[in-house]
C-alpha cells in the first residue's frame, strides 16, 4: 500500500518538476517582460490586492463563475469539480483515519459529525456520478464544436466513472459485511440492500471487497500520478493561475520598455515581444498550462467566427506544446515564429479582448498575440500592408499616408477654430485621423460640431500638429513608434494647457484614457457619447425630433468591453422621442467586434467571411433599420459590409452623433 503510494508520489513529483522547469524557473533566460506601468504598491494596496485575488479565487475557481456561462457543460463541470473535491477530501480523511490515527490509538467518535460526513460523501458521490455521466454523454453524443475529440479526457471521465461506481459498491459491501446499518450513508445502504438480494457468501464478498478496494486505491493513486501528464493538470494550474494572473481585461497594453529611458541609457538592444518560448515570463508560461481547453475563448472570438486561421484556444495549445517539448532531453525547438504559430494567425486577431474576458481560468490569449506581434515586428516581418501602415504613421503621422494639408483645412471645413486661433475653449476636439481624411467619417465630426454648437460649448481643433493617437502602431506591435507619437501628442496638448479632450473615436478614446497617463498625460478625455448624454441630461441640448426608424446599437470594444461605457450610449438613444432600441444578442460589454480592431482595419487576412458581415447580420436580425455605432472604424466596417443595395433597402449605419444631430432638428447654428 505505502509502496504503491510512494511510486505514484514520485511519478507525480517528476511531472510537477518538469512543469516547473518548462516555466523557465531556474533556467537561463526567463522573463524579459515587465510592466513599466505597474507602480510599486504600498502595504495597504498590497492587502487590497490579496483580498481581490482571494475573491477571484472564490469566484472563478470555487464557484466557477465563467464556466457556468455555458449551461450544459458549465453545470457538468461544476458538479464534477465539487464531487471530486469533496470525495478527494473525504478519501484523504478516511486514509488519515485508518493509516495514521487508528494505528496511533486515536479514535474519532462516530457521532453526528461522522454521520454528516458519511452523508455528504454519498451526496457528492452521486453529484460526481451525475456530472461524469453528463460529460461522457456530451463528449460522445453531443460533440459540440469547441470540444476537442480528446481521447485522454474521455479516458479520465471513464476512470472517474469507474471510481465512483466502485466506491459505492465498496461502501455497500462494507456495510453488508459488517452487518451494520448506516442510514446516513443512504447510497451505500441502498447498494448493501441490493447486494443482500444476491446473497453472496461472506467469503466471496470479502474477496470481492479486497480486489475492489485494491483496484480502487491503485487507480486513485494512479490518477494523482497522472495529474501532471494529462488534462487533469488544470486541477493544479488553473487555480494557481487565477491567483497569480493580473486577472482583469485592461484597455492598456503592456509597456515593454520606456523609449525615454532607452534614449537616456543608450541601450537600444531591448528585447521586445516574443519569438522564442524563453521570451515568455513564468506567469505567461504557467497560464499556458492553466488552460483547460474550455473553449469559451473560441466561442466568442470574431476572428474564429470569420474563419481566419486564429482560434485563441488553439493558439494557447500550440504555445503550450512548444513550452512542453522544449525542455528536458531531446528538446524540440523553442522558436515560436517559424512553424509553431503562423503569421496569419497572429495578424488575424482584432485585439477585441473577448477571449480574455471569457476565460474561466484567467488565461489571456490576447496577451500572447501582442507578444508575438512585437516579436514579428522586431524581426521586420510585417508584410506589405502593415509595412505601409507603419511607414504612413512614421512619415505622415496618419495611417492613411495623406498629406498634412487635410489637417490644415480641417478647422475651416468644420467651422471651428484651431487652438492657435482661439485658446479660450471649453474643450479640445480631437477629431482623429478617420474624420480628418475619410469623407464618410467626416460626417461624424460635422454632426458632433453641430451638437457642441447647439449646446453652446466652445471647442477647437489642433490643426496641422494633429497626429495619429498611435493605436494602430501599438497594436501592430511597433511600440517605439507608438511612444514617439504618444509623447508628441501629449507635448502638443499640454503646450496649449488643455485639460479636457473630446473624441468620437473609440481607439483614440481608449488610448488617451488608458495608455497616455503612463507617458505623462494629465488631461481628461471624454468619448462623445458620454458628453452627449451629459448635455441631454443637463438640458443643454434637446433632441426633440422623433426617431423614424427602429435602431440597434453596436458597442465598440474600446468603449464597452474595455471601458465599461455601455449605459451612456443607450441613455442617449432612449432620450430621442419614439426611439425604438432593440438589442442584439451580443451587446454591451459582451458585444461582438466589428473586425477593425488590432489595426485589422488596415490590412486583410485570409478568412471565410468578413467579421463585419457576421455582425451586420446579427444587427439585421433584430429588425432594426438603423445600426448605430460609436466609432468611425466600426461605422466604416459596416458600411463596407453592406455593399451594393439590393431589392430591400439596406440597413443604415449612423454614428450616435449623427442620430442625435438629426434629432436636434433644424440647424440652430449661428
Amino acid at each position: 500500500m505505502y509502496g504503491v503510494f510512494l511510486v505514484c508520489l514520485i511519478v507525480f513529483s517528476i511531472g510537477l518538476y518538469r512543469h516547473l522547469r518548462s516555466l523557465g524557473i531556474g533556467a537561463a533566460g526567463g522573463a524579459t517582460f515587465r510592466d513599466h506601468g505597474a507602480a510599486r504598491r504600498s502595504a495597504r494596496e498590497g492587502l487590497k490586492e490579496v483580498t481581490r485575488r482571494t475573491a477571484r479565487l472564490v469566484g472563478f475557481a470555487l464557484l466557477q463563475r465563467r464556466v457556468l456561462r455555458r449551461r450544459y457543460s458549465g453545470w457538468t463541470h461544476l458538479t464534477i469539480f465539487w464531487g471530486f473535491v469533496v470525495l478527494s477530501l473525504g478519501s484523504l480523511t478516511i486514509m488519515v483515519d485508518s493509516y495514521v490515527l487508528q494505528p496511533l490509538g486515536i479514535l474519532l467518535s462516530r457521532d453526528l459529525g461522522f454521520r454528516i460526513f458519511q452523508m455528504s460523501l454519498d451526496v457528492f458521490g452521486l453529484t460526481l456520478l451525475g456530472g461524469v455521466a453528463l460529460a461522457i454523454h456530451r463528449r460522445v453524443w453531443i460533440k459540440p464544436e469547441h470540444t476537442r475529440p480528446d481521447r485522454r479526457t474521455l479516458v479520465i471521465l471513464c476512470v472517474l466513472l469507474g471510481m465512483v461506481v466502485s466506491g459505492f459498491v465498496l461502501e455497500g459491501l462494507r456495510i453488508r459485511l459488517e452487518g451494520s446499518s448506516e442510514p446516513w450513508a443512504f447510497a451505500g445502504n441502498t447498494v448493501a440492500a441490493l447486494i443482500a438480494l444476491a446473497s453472496p457468501s461472506p467469503a466471496s464478498g470479502m474477496a470481492l471487497y479486497k480486489v475492489l478496494w485494491w483496484s480502487h486505491a491503485v487507480v486513485a493513486f494512479g490518477l494523482i500520478a497522472a495529474v501532471p501528464y494529462s488534462p487533469l493538470r488544470h486541477i493544479l494550474t488553473s487555480p494557481l493561475n487565477i491567483l497569480v494572473s493580473s486577472g482583469h481585461l485592461s484597455g492598456a497594453m503592456t509597456t515593454p520598455f520606456s523609449l525615454v529611458e532607452v534614449m537616456q541609457s543608450g541601450r537600444f538592444d531591448v528585447k521586445v515581444g516574443a519569438d522564442s518560448i524563453d521570451d515568455l515570463g513564468w506567469k505567461e508560461r504557467l497560464a499556458l498550462n492553466a488552460c483547460a481547453d474550455f473553449g469559451g475563448c473560441q466561442d466568442v472570438c470574431p476572428a474564429h467566427a470569420a474563419g481566419t486561421p486564429l482560434s485563441p484556444m488553439q493558439l494557447v495549445e500550440d504555445l503550450r506544446r512548444v513550452s512542453d517539448t522544449s525542455t528536458g532531453n531531446g528538446a524540440g525547438s523553442r522558436d515560436l515564429l517559424n512553424g509553431a504559430v503562423s503569421e496569419d494567425t497572429i495578424w488575424s486577431c482584432t485585439l477585441c479582448g473577448a477571449c480574455t474576458q471569457s476565460c474561466p481560468t484567467l488565461v489571456d490569449p490576447m496577451g500572447y498575440i501582442v507578444q508575438l506581434r512585437r516579436g514579428l515586428v522586431g524581426k521586420n516581418r510585417l508584410g506589405r500592408e502593415r509595412t505601409g501602415v507603419l511607414a504612413n504613421l512614421s512619415y505622415s503621422r496618419n495611417p492613411y499616408g495623406s498629406s498634412g494639408a487635410g489637417r490644415e483645412r480641417l478647422a475651416a471645413e468644420l467651422g471651428i477654430p484651431t487652438l492657435d486661433q482661439h485658446r479660450d475653449v471649453d474643450l479640445l476636439y480631437w477629431v482623429g485621423c478617420a474624420a480628418t481624411f475619410d469623407p464618410r467619417a467626416r460626417a461624424i465630426a460635422t454632426a458632433t460640431v453641430k451638437i457642441l454648437n447647439a449646446a453652446g460649448l466652445r471647442c477647437a481643433v489642433i490643426g496641422r500638429d494633429d497626429s495619429c493617437c498611435g493605436d494602430p502602431a501599438r497594436r501592430i506591435g511597433e511600440e517605439g513608434l507608438f511612444q514617439e507619437l504618444a509623447s508628441r501628442n501629449i507635448e502638443t496638448i499640454s503646450r496649449y494647457g488643455i485639460n479636457k479632450v473630446l473624441t468620437h473615436c473609440a481607439h483614440c478614446f481608449n488610448t488617451f484614457r488608458n495608455e497616455y497617463p503612463e507617458f505623462g498625460a494629465q488631461f481628461e478625455v471624454a468619448h462623445h457619447g458620454a458628453l452627449i448624454r451629459d448635455l441631454i441630461e443637463s438640458g443643454a441640448i434637446d433632441p426633440s425630433r422623433p426617431a423614424s426608424e427602429p435602431m440597434t446599437l453596436h458597442d465598440s470594444c474600446y468603449v464597452g468591453r474595455f471601458n465599461g461605457g455601455v449605459e451612456h450610449p443607450r441613455a442617449v438613444l432612449q432620450s430621442i422621442p419614439q426611439a425604438a432600441l432593440t438589442e442584439m444578442p451580443r451587446s454591451g460589454e459582451r458585444a461582438f467586434c466589428c473586425g477593425a480592431g488590432g489595426a485589422n482595419y488596415w490590412y486583410e487576412v485570409p478568412r471565410r467571411e468578413k467579421t463585419s458581415t457576421l455582425r451586420l447580420r446579427e444587427a439585421e436580425a433584430t429588425g432594426a433599420r438603423v445600426l448605430v455605432t460609436e466609432c468611425p472604424f466600426c461605422l466604416k466596417m459596416f458600411e463596407d459590409a453592406i455593399g451594393s443595395p439590393g431589392d430591400t433597402p439596406p440597413m443604415k449605419v449612423r454614428d450616435i452623433a449623427e442620430v442625435v444631430a438629426e434629432a436636434l432638428g433644424e440647424d440652430r447654428e449661428t
Partner: protein, 271 residues
C-alpha cells in the same frame, strides 16, 4: 541555391522631400518646401533591401552613400543603417539640391572611388523628387562598369550575377560580371520597416562625412557648378472644381440629371 560569395555592396540613396506630403502653394503652384518632411527615396529603399538580402544570403558588407545639401536629417541616415547598411558615407554640399544627374554621378563616383573594394552598386531606378532615372547609368559610366536597369530578381553566382530584367513586354535574364551597377524598382522586393528602437540602435554604426574637397574637388567645383541642367521652375497644374450639386428626389432622377449635365457640357460624347 546560388553559390554566391560574400559581396561588398554600395547603395546610393537620395534623401528627398516626401512627395506624398508635398503641397503646392495655392497662389503660385510652386511646391512648399519650407515644412515638408524628408524621406529616403522609395526605390532607394528597394535597393537597400536587396543589398541587405544579398548580405544575409551570402555574407559581406553594405555601404550606404548619399549626396546631401548640408546636414541631412540624421534620422534618415540612421534609418538606412537600421535597414541593413553597415556604414554610411554622407557627402555634404550646400548646393546639392541643384545637382543634376551628371553632377550627382560625378560626385558619387568620386566617393565610390575613394571607398574602393565594392563588388556591386545598387541604385533606385529614379529619385523620389526628380525621377530622371539617369544618375544610376551615369554613375556606372563614370566608374566604367556595366549597368543593368530594371532588375527584378538578383542571384549571386561566383564572380557574376544573374539578373532578371522585367521590360515592358518581356523578361530578359542576363548574367553580368562583377563589378556591376544595378538599378531597381519596387517590383524587386518589399523593403523592411525598421522599428524606432532599431533606428536608434543604428547610431552605433559608423557614419563618415565628406566635404567635396575630401573627394579631390577644387574650390568652386560644387554640385550646382557641375550641373549642366538648371531647373528654372516647378509648379503644379492648377485644379479647379466646379462644385456642381445636382438636386433630385430619387437616385434615378439624379442619375438622369447627371447624365444630361455631362452630355450638355460635352464631357461625355456619343461617337
Amino acid at each position: 541555391m546560388s553559390d554566391g560569395r560574400p559581396l561588398t555592396i554600395a547603395v546610393c540613396i537620395k534623401v528627398s522631400p516626401n512627395t506624398a506630403q508635398l503641397r503646392a502653394d495655392s497662389r503660385t503652384g510652386a511646391p512648399r518646401l519650407d515644412d515638408v518632411p524628408y524621406r529616403i527615396g522609395t526605390f532607394d529603399e528597394n535597393a537597400l533591401e536587396e543589398a541587405t538580402r544579398l548580405k544575409e544570403q551570402h555574407g559581406g558588407k553594405v555601404f550606404a552613400i548619399s549626396l546631401t545639401a548640408g546636414a541631412p536629417p540624421q534620422e534618415l541616415i540612421l534609418r538606412a543603417l537600421a535597414m541593413g547598411a553597415d556604414e554610411a558615407y554622407v557627402i555634404e554640399d550646400p548646393t546639392a539640391e541643384h545637382a543634376d544627374s551628371l553632377a550627382t554621378a560625378r560626385i558619387l563616383s568620386a566617393g565610390l572611388k575613394k571607398l574602393e573594394g565594392w563588388d556591386l552598386i545598387l541604385c533606385g531606378e529614379g529619385s523620389l523628387d526628380a525621377y530622371n532615372r539617369q544618375a544610376g547609368p551615369r554613375l556606372a559610366e563614370a566608374l566604367e562598369i556595366p549597368v543593368l536597369t530594371h532588375a527584378t530578381l538578383v542571384e549571386a553566382r561566383g564572380e557574376s550575377l544573374v539578373v532578371h530584367r522585367a521590360l515592358e513586354d518581356r523578361t530578359v535574364i542576363v548574367e553580368a560580371a562583377l563589378p556591376l551597377l544595378l538599378t531597381v524598382g519596387q517590383e524587386i522586393n518589399e523593403p523592411r520597416f525598421p522599428t524606432v528602437l532599431q533606428i536608434m540602435g543604428a547610431s552605433r554604426k559608423p557614419t563618415v562625412k565628406w566635404a567635396l574637397s575630401d573627394l579631390g574637388f577644387r574650390e568652386g567645383e560644387t554640385a550646382a557648378a557641375m550641373s549642366g541642367v538648371k531647373t528654372l521652375e516647378v509648379y503644379a497644374p492648377r485644379e479647379e472644381r466646379r462644385r456642381v450639386s445636382l438636386p433630385g428626389d430619387s437616385v434615378e432622377e439624379m442619375a438622369a440629371e447627371l447624365a444630361r449635365t455631362l452630355f450638355e457640357q460635352g464631357l461625355v460624347k456619343v461617337e
